[in-house]
Amino acid sequence: MEFETVLGLEVHTELATDTKIFCSCSTEFGGEPNTHVCEVCSGMPGTLPVLNKKVVEFAIRTGLATNCEITRYNKFDRKNYFYPDLPKAYQVSQLYLPICQNGHIDIEVNGVKKSIRIKEIHMEEDAGKLIHDPWDDCTLVDYNRCGVPLLEIVSEPDFSSAEEVIAYLTKLKAILQYTGVSDCKMEQGSLRADVNLSVKPVGSKELGTRTEMKNINSFKAIARAIEGERQRQIELIQEGKKVVQETRRWDDNKGASYAMRSKENAQDYRYFPEPDLVPIEIDEEWIEQVRASLPELPEAKKERYLSEYHLPAYDVDIITGSKDLVKIFEEAYEVCKNAKEVSNWIMGEVLRLASETSTLPEDISFDAKNLGKLILLVKDGVVNRNTAKEVFEKMFSHNVEPEKYIHDNNLKMVNDDSAVKEVVEKVIAANPDSIAQFKEGNEKVNKFLMGQCMKQLKGKANPAIVTKILDEELSKLK
């Protein structure tokens, strides 16, 4: 029997606000445990929440960027459950009236376009973090993350493959980054995805029993988790067993998922409207203000890069998929006005060095204007391409200014014909064997001699000039 997979996603993203959702504590990641806490976010008796307006603005922004309807009359609800990382024993969230509803994100996988529907986006507070201390065999709790604002973005079960999920997440991540809503650092937990998955025989209208895998925090792990869970469910069905509706934990190291405690399923959150907060009314004016402040979004940017710059689709996908690469592209372009060159540099050297040094796009720190300058320096024949790559490595690692670096290190291309000629003559004189071979008609020695010349010139010469002069000198010997 052939099976098809039905997938839905719940994405949690931490918002890039300076302060928490209901108090003025810092949201900064890291920090000594329990230093970004006050009586409000640590759930002291008698404290009350005060909503951070920025959170609402960020939610509206995300909703508009994902084609959602914005709910005009909003309320918060309490989700009640006991856990030591939740100091009030309830999470303030939105059940009945989420701020954004009925949106969609369009994706493209292997040339096929698809629209993924977004059911809703709601605002809520993050919980703290439990840290198990194996030394003392005890569990410690850090409330720094308590009350950091989150958006939960819930899709409809519109995905049929891991590729679609990854395409959607890539797009969503870019949108959240473009709009400044979140930094989406998965390794810091500011973007986390829960995957709902079920399988059914191809063509069957009835959905299979779904499982949920929680908090998987890298794209690669998500792809592996989906494949693993899909296989597990198919095997169960083929063995005549039933898929149990449950929450599972994906262990990426072991490449397998495990059922979490079964009481998770029986959890009754006893939702009810949060009485400590008043309803929030969002008027047209506010929405239009936010709409006007939206930057160019990934989709529009992609279209523009294709039509305006005629760049390869693959390169455009990669560059517009990251706010940080876009920033590098646009700043460098601003200086050199050569989109093709900038794109080539990003796809080549920038990504190569980033990968070699395990640098995430957001941590790339060189001044992109300097990349534009470097491109101009190559174009103007000040340095040749190979030297430029060397210079760029220094720019990437130490953010050097290219012109000064080239000057200080005497890397300027030698464009002086007489200087080149002198070297060519020296090389010819020093390699009689090669010249003999050349005379016998072996053209291959040209390359060797060219290499020798460049070596003598320390790579700084304009290769075109060297080739020209070498050819001239050699032809004299014929």
């Binding site: 009350l48 005060v50 309490r78 006893r270 939702y271 008043v278």
Partner: protein, 487 residues
């Protein structure tokens, strides 16, 4: 007149005039506390040293002309469910027996800023759940008029402290009548302000949508003055209304005022003495030139179930944070995390609290939400509407505060359903978010006080206080004191 018999404003005046020192007044009231606490148990915590130190500091500020409140220097006490930085705040529960807050409630802070000397924290029903102040983990408070009777609740300690002259005034909190009913039982004046006028920041929540802090004192003038100090928007409480702090001068003119008496407040179980005293009150208003009419408000009949559902639902969530992890009582023996919760909460909470948490968790549980909680919200809207209709015609309503005078100690806990039903006169006011003022209006045959409840429209505190002052001026029930009558 003996110092402790004075009203807050009378003492404030003498302090201003340098006829009485703040330390002297504080010492006098501390002496009363020492003498009478054995009998009445109004306090959970008396902060003698801190109070004397505060008194000295306040005196210095007064001398320097830095305090202009007419109540500056007057010793007061606050209910033990309001957070006081570094001072034990127990909610009369074993759960918070050793809890010392790291901040002070806004209302208390405002009093302190106005020069109040805080004597300590008054006794109450555990987590404000009860109508008698008997559910306190630290033992019941007794009614100063008769120690065999309860002072009412849940702000029983705050009411008894004023009646027994163990504080010049106090703060209470009122979720379903917890300021007004004990004020009535103890023969003092108490105001439950409009929901949202006094910040709840630092008030340990029982039912967030109903809780409100308010003043309890010997006279309407005192209550009005305290109200002016504690009311006003607080940016730390999103539900506090954006209104400037109240400023008004009382003007007790009742001519042409229209007063309604809702018949539903005189239902089954109302004592004849209470009914008589309330109708006598109506006569007093008529004699002052007001028009009084009997009216019908059938929606009031649904108030008690709606109140207990809404209040318990919110309480079950509000009290979930007491889990033994961060602060408060933590069991010493447990098997695992769930058992830690189970043991800590079983040991930390008393019977009435557990009962209300269970009711609340039940009515919110999946499948029951619409049948109970949502229904309660609908009833709440109905009741609000029926009050709105009444206030379209009447300036304020006049009702009993409770169907009876203070029950005997132990009687109510034997039949808690009866105790819940005795909240009939007060809970609808909380559901509608309205202000309610209670002033003494008589005594029953046993000599126990009876209070008259005046209900006003939202933000109609000024109207109520004027009406209260008019009544107080025309009568002398508020001058009666149990002090000196004790055996």
């Amino acid at each position: 007149m003996e110092l402790c018999q004075m009203s807050g404003l009378e003492l404030g005046k003498k302090i201003k005039a340098k006829e009485v020192g703040v330390v002297e007044a504080t010492k006098a009231v501390l002496e009363n506390i020492e003498k009478r606490e054995q009998s009445y148990h109004c306090y959970v915590t008396v902060c003698k040293e801190e109070a004397l130190a505060q008194a000295e500091a306040v005196q210095k500020k007064i001398d320097a002309g830095a305090l202009d409140s007419p109540l500056a220097g007057v010793p007061a006490a606050v209910k033990d469910n309001m957070c006081t930085k570094g001072m034990q705040t127990s909610c009369a529960s074993r759960m918070l027996e050793t809890f010392k807050p790291i901040y002070t409630a806004t209302a208390v802070q405002k009093l302190q800023d106005a020069g109040a000397v805080i004597l300590g924290k008054t006794n109450m029903d555990e987590f404000a759940m009860g109508s008698t102040s008997e559910t306190s983990f630290f033992g019941a408070t007794k009614n100063p008029w008769n120690q065999d009777h309860v002072p009412g609740g849940s702000s029983g300690g705050s009411a008894a402290a004023v009646a027994a002259e163990e504080a010049f005034y106090t703060l209470g909190s009122d979720t379903g009548g917890s300021i007004r009913q004990p004020a009535s039982y103890c023969g003092i004046t108490g105001l439950k302000p409009t929901y949202g006028t006094v910040s709840r920041y630092g008030l340990i929540a029982y039912a967030s949508s109903l809780d409100q802090i308010g003043p309890m004192a010997k006279t309407v003038e005192d209550v009005a003055e305290i109200y002016k100090i504690i009311a006003g928007h607080d940016k730390k409480d999103s539900t506090s209304v954006h209104q400037p702090a109240p400023s008004f001068t009382l003007c007790p003119d009742m001519k042409g005022k229209k007063i309604g008496i809702p018949m539903e407040f005189f239902g089954e179980g109302i004592e004849e003495d209470v009914k008589e005293a309330v109708y006598h009150g109506a006569k007093v208003y008529e004699s002052l030139g007001a028009e009084v009419e009997e009216i019908k408000m059938p929606a009031i009949g649904y108030a008690i179930p709606a109140y207990y559902i809404a209040a318990c639902a919110e309480a079950s969530s509000n009290l979930s944070r007491y889990d033994g992890i961060k602060y408060g009582h933590c069991a010493t023996k447990y098997d695992d995390l769930v058992d830690l919760y189970y043991q800590s909460r079983s040991e930390g909470f008393g019977f009435e609290v557990k009962k209300r948490i269970l009711i609340g968790a039940f009515v919110l549980s999946s499948g029951y939400y619409d049948a109970y909680y949502n229904k309660a919200l609908q009833v709440k809207a109905l009741i609000k509407q029926s009050y709105d209709d009444a206030f379209a015609k009447y300036d304020f309503l006049l009702t009993p505060t409770a169907p009876t005078t203070a029950p005997r100690v132990g009687e109510s806990l034997k039949d808690t359903l009866k105790m819940y039903l005795s909240d009939i006169c007060t809970v609808s006011v909380n559901l509608a978010g309205l202000p309610g003022l209670v002033v003494p209006c008589g005594f029953d045959k046993k000599g126990l006080p009876i209070g008259l409840q005046l209900i006003g429209k939202a933000f109609g505190e000024e109207t109520l206080l004027n009406a209260g002052l008019a009544f107080q001026t025309a009568t002398d029930f508020h001058k009666k004191t149990p002090v000196g009558k004790e055996a």
